[in-house]
Amino acid sequence: MKFSSPGNVIRAFATMRMGLTLLAIIIVLSAVGTLIPQERDISAAGPVLHFFYHTLGFGNLYHSWWFGSLLFFLCLNIACCSLSRLPVLWRDTFAPPVWPAAMSWQRECRLALPPDEVAQRMRQRLKQSGFRVWDIGTDRLYARKGQLAPWGTFLIHASILIIALGSFYGSMAGFQYSVLLAPGDSVTIGAGSYPAPGCPFELRLNTFTTELYPNGQVSDWVSNLTVTRIGEDVLSQDVKVNHPFSYQGVSFYQASYSNLYEITQQATGHNARKLRLEEKQPIILDDRLGIAVVPLKYLPDFDPKRPMVSRSAQPLNPHVIYMAYSGGRPLGMNAVAIGNPLSIPGSPIELVFSAVQEASGLDVKHDPGLPLVFTGFSIMGAAFFLSLLPHRRVIWAEIRPNAESTLLVVTISGRSQLLTEELSLLCQNLAN
């Protein structure tokens, strides 16, 4: 086929061959994406790796423009193929019987019965096996069944498009980000760069608890949240893993937990400055000299003999394990008691870890495409079972009266491999 006109290009594009080629490319690229670590920091790497990772987009393959385009073209191909099948599907299901001009009969049965009786039995047997039967004149029967399976296949493809549409809409109109809240903290939702209908409102974390099984294993993390509007509490709810909480189309998920470190920073001759750091978040004391401190771990009951493990869960000897940096290089790990001053050689600033709070990591998400995606999921699940139903078959039969017997000629068409067996069985059944 020559790509001489736009019509030809579209026709070539809307073929199964094109669809399968796209599928093959997507399969290979998806596999490649799992082998290359995605969305990593490669700032230390050389220019070749940078080109490959950032410019070509292999570092965020699934969200690169070319992978997105492939998915888009696959959807377009599915849409074109499905639409071109629709008229045939419609005709096969709803059109009145069709009698081919030239019929080649597949089987003949001679029955010692009057023609009326043969027609009657044929009609009855076909109906019993789930066929819809039409009389064409007095001597011809047309029957068909299995209309649902091809609709199942059609719906599977339609559901893929619905899911794609929903996920695209969600990614355009929705948002997702994480917040780390300590008990008592509030955060404004649905304002600024993340607007959502029915917003903004305030979300407050009241309590954050870790529930344990009797053997000490974590059973659940529970955040008790309150929604407030203009200073008034609207509603309160617990959020656990697997039990998110939604308000005004914004959902909150229990995603992680971490410690928040309250730090007092004191430089000679300056007022004390208070700040709050997340675990592994550096506090830079001197940018020029590369002096920094990174809190690594909180130990409620520090044991100098085994410095990385807490003796108990009780805050009997609370310490913070930290890593200090000077000249951009690590000086080593150390422990400091809560409330004790900490100074790094070369820096005039003194630090005090004044308190540590267990904080709840919540994912905040607004996805207006989700109902569409879940509708697509439901259709897909159901349509697959529909497609398992017996496939479409059509039977044409003609009854030819003879002197003492009746000749029945029959033809069956369909995609099943067992059609001839089915036809034989039908003819045998007629005699009994």
Binding site: M16, I26, G33, N215, V241, N242, A255, D363, M380, S387
Partner: protein
């Protein structure tokens, strides 16, 4: 009784091994009678396997779906159960020579991943666990069965090419019968493979706030689904038959194995508690 879990699962392993030896012996020595012994051994193995799964359910207090060992013993039981059902219904003991070694291999692998019963971790405490893992057992079990049948098909074609003795050929079903059986089990697996991914996605939406993150496990499950989708289109549109179809089914199952075991070992991600 509850500390009998390990002996029971080891007993199941050896009974499957004995069954596999009987089934293979039937083909090697062309002794029809060995099929009967194979069936009894497989049935006894299945009983022991089900007992092990029941003991695990009692000791852990939840359905045996929380890690690779628990899932594995249920999967093997499904594969052996499917084979025995097909054998009972269609009388195909030749398939036992392929399905039972697969069961032996799987039970061996899952024994390596043995884990003691533990309470469920927070991410697994969901009603979706049941739906997700049941669909996984049915989908992967049926695909494992299709793989065993595909191997039988390849072997039968090999025998045909070598003009093997009619006595041996009479013990193995015709290639067309095997191909149809393989195709049937793939067709049956497909809706469950789909539900497996869909239930996983819906669950991930509730647990992690995202129905799709291109996590390695998710991506490979999609790859598996797409590979079988290509197979279905190939059969429906290009009338793939014989060797092409069978090879595609074998490759498909290799990818199932990678998705199911390989990803957990080599490409850790959100789903990594499965080990």
């Amino acid at each position: 009784m509850l500390n009998q879990e390990i002996p029971t699962i080891i007993a199941a392993f050896f009974l499957y091994l004995i069954a596999a030896i009987f089934y293979i012996g039937r083909l090697v020595y062309q002794k029809q009678g060995l099929a009967r012994l194979g069936r009894w051994a497989a049935l006894a193995g299945l009983a022991a396997n089900i007992c092990a799964a029941a003991i695990r359910t009692l000791t852990s207090g939840h359905a045996p779906f929380a890690n690779m060992f628990e899932f594995g013993i249920v999967l093997v039981a499904f594969v052996v159960g499917s084979y025995l059902w097909v054998d009972l219904r269609y009388g195909q003991p030749a398939l036992g020579a392929f399905a039972l070694p697969l069961a032996v291999l799987f039970s061996g692998v899952f024994l390596i991943f043995y884990q003691e019963a533990k309470p469920l971790m927070p991410a697994l405490k969901s009603n979706w666990l049941l739906a997700h893992v049941i669909t996984a057992v049915i989908a992967y079990g049926s695909l494992a069965f299709s793989f065993a049948v595909a191997l039988a098909h390849r072997w039968r074609c090999y025998l045909d090419a070598r003009n093997s003795s009619p006595a041996l050929l009479s013990l193995v079903p015709e290639p067309s019968v095997l191909e149809s059986m393989m195709n049937q089990s793939i067709l049956f697996a497909m809706p469950f493979l789909t539900l497996l991914i869909l239930t996983g996605a819906v669950w991930a939406e509730y647990a992690w706030g995202s129905y799709w993150r291109w996590d390695p496990k998710e991506t490979w499950s999609l790859i598996t689904w797409l590979v079988y989708a290509v197979y279905l289109h190939g059969r429906a549109v290009y009338a793939w038959q014989g060797r092409t179809a069978v090879n595609w089914a074998i490759a498909g199952f290799a990818i199932v194995i990678f998705t199911f075991i390989g990803v957990n070992i080599l490409l850790p991600g959100l789903h990594s508690y499965a080990l």
